[in-house]
Symmetry: C2
Subunit: 263 residues, 2 copies
Amino acid sequence: MLHIQNSKEARKFIRTNQYKKQTAGIASKFVQGNICILPNIYKKDFYKFCNKNPKPCPLIGFSENGNPKLDKLGDIDIRTDVPSYRVWNNGNIIDEPQNIENYWRDDLSTFVIGCSMSFEQPLIDAGIEIQHIKNNTTVPMYKTNINCESSGIFQGNMVVSMRPLTIPNTIKAIEISSQFPDVHGGPIHFSNPEDVGIKNIMKPEYGDPPQKIAKNEIPVFWACGVTPQLIIEKLKLDFCITHKPGCMLITDKLNANFKVDLN
Amino acid sequence: MLHIQNSKEARKFIRTNQYKKQTAGIASKFVQGNICILPNIYKKDFYKFCNKNPKPCPLIGFSENGNPKLDKLGDIDIRTDVPSYRVWNNGNIIDEPQNIENYWRDDLSTFVIGCSMSFEQPLIDAGIEIQHIKNNTTVPMYKTNINCESSGIFQGNMVVSMRPLTIPNTIKAIEISSQFPDVHGGPIHFSNPEDVGIKNIMKPEYGDPPQKIAKNEIPVFWACGVTPQLIIEKLKLDFCITHKPGCMLITDKLNANFKVDLN
């Protein structure tokens, strides 16, 4: 893991191709984002899709018409500042590069979607152990049978991330994460994975498998910003670019600013 | 049920012995309170007990030295304004009167403890069906094996109230009730009742049995203001007075004022 807590410094490492792995725990006070880069023709529908599905797709940044900058989130060039990208063609991943300068086009729009990492530090601060952070692995993510609200061609099922927690910690985690509505908010399900169409909890479709779910723990599921990748895959779009799951854009926004503070 | 939504009017009915039953749904915008009336010699320890155990015993009102008034909560005379009382002697209930004027003494202190009814209306407003309210019964309450923090002679286990909810409604209910820390706040447990020492969920120690727990529901448990009654029973205090579980003091404080508002 990259042991850097300053967001600008972390991005400098990533920008110069010195780090290409998952970003959990790096600059952990700062908001990280899921990335979805689409040709302009899809822009309007996907923008509406995010607004209709704020739990999996809370939009925290946007640029259009080939502008690679995201000034509101920091001194960011989206072509270089993500550790690992996925380039998609007809539903297939055709490349996993460390920068996308060679793929950049003047008709691209960039969507930055909030990420549950923003509430993981507050959970840890409340004394809750997060298994995948402790083990330095990527959070397990699963395809579900939960339908998203459709917008134009964009339709499909939700992806969720999972953290195993005890029941008292589940209650605490719901209380805390619901204070972060712009980064997925409270969970969408807990306990029986089959209720949401997950057949094998030990075999996530994205990220790393959980180490284990202890007898006194239950799986707790949050809507996940990887959802657009599942939808893009199914849609077989001719071209788009995403981040590699777990390898996020690190912004200069503080997680604390995304908290709905209690008086 | 008494179909009165004005707190002052509801108290007038109760004060004149026209109503002696459970108060759920009556003047539902207003805070209701659990009552514990003790001789002065226990005052200091019980006050500390409440402060040490804010989940079951959130103190919202107090008077001492035989003062029956609770001006901060409304134009209340605690000797007449509760529908049904329990008079305790050596751990036994010796009377369940509609007023306690004959039992009143100059050395009594009154403790008013917040009640989960204050967050039930917000739950209903969020579209959550509450079984015991729909059925016009008293919420089921159970003895648990969860230890309270002790203070002087006051020690013992927590009483919890239970509402059966679906998993999505459990998540919503945790999010909402945690915004009401002065009226028990978020739940303390859900799912397996045996985890907290409850052997038969269909046989509550206080209130009415649940009608059923549906296949898609789990029992959700909140700390309950009836906790002092269990402790008093065990302590075999020579004298004290409580409300009859479910038959609460209706105050003039709005539930909304007990909410920690989101910005």
